[in-house]
Every structure is written in C-alpha cells, then in structure tokens.
Amino acid sequence: MVERAPESPSAADEPPAGSPTAAAAGGGGGTGAAAGLAAPGEQAPGPAAPPGTEPGPSGQARSLWSDAWHDLRRNPVFVVSALLILFLVLISVWPGLIATRNPLSCQLNKSLDPASPGHWFGYDTQGCDVYTRVVYGARTSVTVGVCATLGVAVAGSVLGGLAGFFGGWWDALLSRVTDVFFGIPIMLGGLVFLSMTGSRSVWTVIAFIVLLGWPQIARIARGSVISAKQNDYVQAARALGAGNARMLVRHILPNAVAPVIVTATIALGTYIALEATLSYLGVGLQPPTVSWGADISDASQGMQFRNAPHILLYPAAALSLTVLAFIMLGDAVRDALDPKLR
C-alpha cells in the first residue's frame, strides 16, 4: 500500500489515496469512529494488493481459506476473542442463563446502593440492578453490531462489487456518491440525523449505520473486484466465453470476498462502540432499551459516579471488553487472510 505508484490499477481511474475521494482503502476518516482498524492503508488488503493477486483460481482460493483457518486455530488472540464472543452471543440470546431478574424493574429506594449478596454490581440511580442491566446490555450491543455489519456488508458488496464488475456510468455514479458520504464524519451525521428522528429503536440505529457505513465496504469491494477481474485466469475464462454470472460467482467472488470480510469484522467492533457513543450523546437508544452507552451517560449526569463508581465502571468494562473481543477477532482474521503478512 505504501508504494502507491500512479500506475497501479486502482489509482488509474481514481485520484491518489488520501483525498476525500479516495480516503485510503479502509476509508478511515469519513466514517468517524467506525473507521475500521483496517482504515488507512495499514493492512486492509484493499485494491492495491488484494489477496486476489496471490491465490489463483478457486482451487487455490480454497487453500487461502484453509490456510487461514489453520493459522487462526493456533492464534491465541483468535481463540480468546472467539470464546468471549461465543459467550456474548449466548447471553444475548438467552440472558436468563446468568441473570434471573428483570432489567426494567427497579426500586428507587435502593438508588446508588453498593454491591450486596445477589446484587454483585450494586444499584444504579433509579435503583435498578446494575448486574442485570449489564447482562441485558449485551443483547443490544450484539444485535446492533451484527445486524449493522450484515447490512453494511451486503449493501456495500452488492453496490461496490457490481460497480467494479460492470464499470461504466454506474461505477462513476457510485464513486461520486461514496465521495459525498465520505465527506460526512459518521458521528456528525449521527448527531444531526438521529436527533431529528423522534423515537429511536435498535432498528433505527442499525438503519442509520447501514445508511452511512455502506460506502466504506462498497469502495473495498469495488477495488478488489477490479483487481480480481484483471487476473490472467479471469481474462482467460472470459476469452473462453464464460458468462457474466458464472465469472462473478466462480472466479471473482472467491477472491474478492476476503478483504470485505476483514473490513467488516473489524467494523463490527467499531459499530458497537458507535452505538454506545451515540447513546451516550443522547441521540442513540432510548429507554426501555437497555444500552451500555445510555447507562454510562446516566451515570455521568452531574457526575453521579462521584460517590458510586460502580454505576460507571461495570457497564464501561462490559462495553470495552465486547468491543475489544470483536476488534481482536478482526485483527486475527486480517492477519490470517492477508497474504502479504504470511
């Protein structure tokens, strides 16, 4: 990525990276807090050197995946984060497994009480059990993270992939549209847009993240499809008369999908952080939805944590650990899938 020589294929029809029009492969800035780890040309196997240039046809592409899996199983970072995520998903689906109370039934007379047997994390300002709320908060974060990522990945890959494959006016239009979206830092957009919507559910926040997040994936999908398309064996398949659909599915998809997966995995963690930050700022989730960000915001109101730090520390720790787990997973997946680092 460093040698962004002007003659590289991706630069040929685009201004050099770094402009708002080509804000590095990972699309760092425009997406604000959601800028993935993969952001700035550091490692995202973006257009300049996608894995697609290394593995050959699907046979070899399969070995990329099995190699990656082989590496992952031996990577302690992956194992730890995967176990943590498994646990998070479990308690998101069945929070009753480890928390028997109702997060919304609170006793005001216990407001800010410290920890006691059966209530290990104490009570918050409204007298709700902090432990129960921390457990139920996982469901919100995981739902937002997973659904927003799925939405962004599907919308981005379809739009970007088709633009890269067919080129022409559709590609030109899409490039301009992504430029416009990259011009709006995601947090700023969230503040303005979400504050204008009256009531916000988990799905409002997810829809917003998809709306502003898809160009990041679209740009990466477009770049990797373009470079996969230029591979000799793809050209050969075309010369042999393979149809568009077959080309896309058999030859281009297996090679273009890795960078998208890497970017999306890392973005998942940042979307969770984004939701929490928006909720903290008061434009994210509203009660009765339980959100770690909103709980931390409540704890910070007039610095109520001054005398009851537990109302701040537990949700903060849960949120940070969750984001860390997903970001570590993304990091490990990137290392495994990026042939440059092999």
Partner: protein, 307 residues
C-alpha cells in the same frame, strides 16, 4: 503541481455540494424546525407561516438549499432562531475547539510516530507485541469511556485536575482532554507507522543507504522514515473526521464550550440554522484537511507530483 491543485479543487466542488445538501436535507426535511421552536405548544398558524417565510421554510428544499448556499458564500450563516447571528456563536466556539484539536494532533503525531518507529524496527520483539496489544485496547475502549474514567480517576478520586474546563478554556486546562481526544488516533498512527516502517525497512533503497555507509540514524530518518510517513500523512487528513467526532464527546465530558457544545445546544433546542451552519463549516474543514493532505502527499512523493 499547479494543475494538480486545480484538479483537486475542482473535484472538491461536487463533493462539497452533495455533502452539504445531504446534511441540509437531514435537518430540514426530516425535522420541522418551526414546530420544534414552540416546543409542546402548538404555534399560532399566522406566526408559524411568517417564520417559515422568513427562514425560507415555505419553499422546496432544493430552493432553500440554494438560497442558504448563496448566503454562506457572502459570509452570512443566518441567525439562530433567537436572533443571534450564527457567526457570532462560531467565533467563540471555534478557537476553543481548534486549541483542543491542535493539542490532540501534536500529541498523536509525536507519540504515534515515535511509538510506530520503535515498534516497526523491532517487529516481533516484546516491546512490539506489548505496544501492539495496548493499541488494540485503546482502539477498543470508546473515547467517552476513556474520558469519563480519566475524569473520575484524575479529577474526582485523586483530585489532580479540575473535572471540568472553565469557559475560557486555556491551553493548560485543555491538555488532559487533548490527551483523551488524541488516544484513539494515536493508536491508529502507531499501528500505521509501525506497519509502514517494518514494510519499508526491508526495501532495497534502505539496503542501498546502508551500503553507502550512512549512519544508522540517517538511514532511519532520511530514508526510511521519509518514505514511511507518506501513508501516515494521508491518514492524518482523514483522521480530522475522527477528531471531530471525538471532540463532540470530549467537550461533552469536560464541559468545554467549543463547537461540540454549541452543536449540541443547537440540536437539543432544534435550532436548525445553528446546526446546519456548524456542520457545514465542519464539513468544509474536513474537505480542506483532505485537500491539504493531498498536496502534502504530492510534496512527499514526487511520483505523484510529476504524474
């Protein structure tokens, strides 16, 4: 070089138009500013109509947008609904946020690049792995969590700092919020510099520089770092967007009365001219930052300059 600048500026125009229009639509088409002004009470229809006419709210959105843009180019950002010119709010808010952002940028550049060089040259060693793990943690902990924890530990528990910044926001009081704001980008700069350095340290031209008998320090600074900083500079431009997001949060935590504070006030009170005005300026700053970085990129890399 001249043609390059002109081309960049021209490319900025449609992006600027599209971005501001998108913001404009979000504010004016999704919400109803006049209703919001009156809060719970239903406004008197005549007054409402008069206000709508005054703020051009009775016209189609695209006309409103063009009228607004025409005003902006004469330096008129309109008045907030309470009659205060938006530019007046800006003149008090922007210097504060600028100070905060500059502190953060200086911190992230100095420490980020230093850490990146140290780890990049020692890839795989203990220093490298521990710094790398730390950057992952910093990236994972959202800025509002870091900020609140710092405020709690240093401000409340240990009493080292005042938990809130005074309205004048002198540089001394902004140092710690600046560190909080810088942390996330600092981690990115570190990782990016590290990757860039460790990739370039195997480059042929570094071997040539060694074969020329140059001292290690000169090889590292003049040859290795000079090349490795190119992607880092690119990142710093796009990172201005991250800094804005972070500033919104940091100003909220430490009660700093800068852009984030005013924007927040505008949103809470549904004061659309304030919101659109501030966001437009922020978008311009973001686009300009990217333009400057583009030019810097050309200065650093002659292959772009002469392309």
């Amino acid at each position: 070089m001249g043609r390059y600048v002109v081309r960049r500026l021209l490319q900025m125009v449609p992006v600027f138009a599209g971005t501001t229009f998108l913001i404009f639509v979000m504010v004016y088409a999704v919400g109803d500013p006049v209703n919001a002004m009156f809060g719970e009470r239903a406004p008197d229809p005549a007054t409402a109509a008069q206000l709508r006419a005054e703020f051009n709210l009775d016209k189609p959105v695209w006309q409103q947008y063009l009228l607004y843009m025409a005003d902006i180019f004469t330096g008129d950002f309109g008045n907030a609904f309470n009659g205060q010119p938006v530019t007046q709010l800006m003149s008090t808010a922007f210097p504060v946020t600028l100070r905060l952002a500059l502190i953060a940028i200086v911190i992230e550049i100095i420490f980020g690049i230093a850490l990146g060089v140290v780890t990049g040259l020692r890839r795989g060693r203990p220093v490298d792995s521990s710094v790398l793990m730390m950057t992952l943690i910093v990236i994972s902990v959202p800025t509002f969590v870091t900020g609140t924890l710092v405020q709690y530990v240093l401000g409340v528990k240990w009493g080292w700092i005042a938990p809130a910044v005074s309205p004048a926001a002198p540089v001394g009081e902004l140092l710690l919020p600046g560190v909080v704001l810088a942390l996330l980008s600092l981690a990115y700069v570190t990782r990016l510099t590290r990757a860039s350095i460790s990739e370039n340290s195997r480059a042929d031209y570094v071997r040539t520089a060694l074969a020329k008998g140059l001292p290690r320090s000169r090889v590292t600074v003049r040859h290795l770092l000079r090349n490795s900083l190119i992607p880092v500079v690119t990142f710093l431009g796009t990172d201005v967007g991250n800094l804005m997001a972070g500033a919104l949060v940091t100003e909220r935590i430490f009660n700093i009365q800068g852009v984030g504070f005013q924007l927040w006030q505008g949103i809470v009170r549904q004061n659309s001219p304030t919101v659109v005005g501030f966001v437009t300026i922020l978008v311009i700053v973001f686009l300009l930052a990217n333009l400057i970085v583009d030019l810097l990129y050309a200065v650093l890399d002659p292959r772009i300059r002469y392309a």
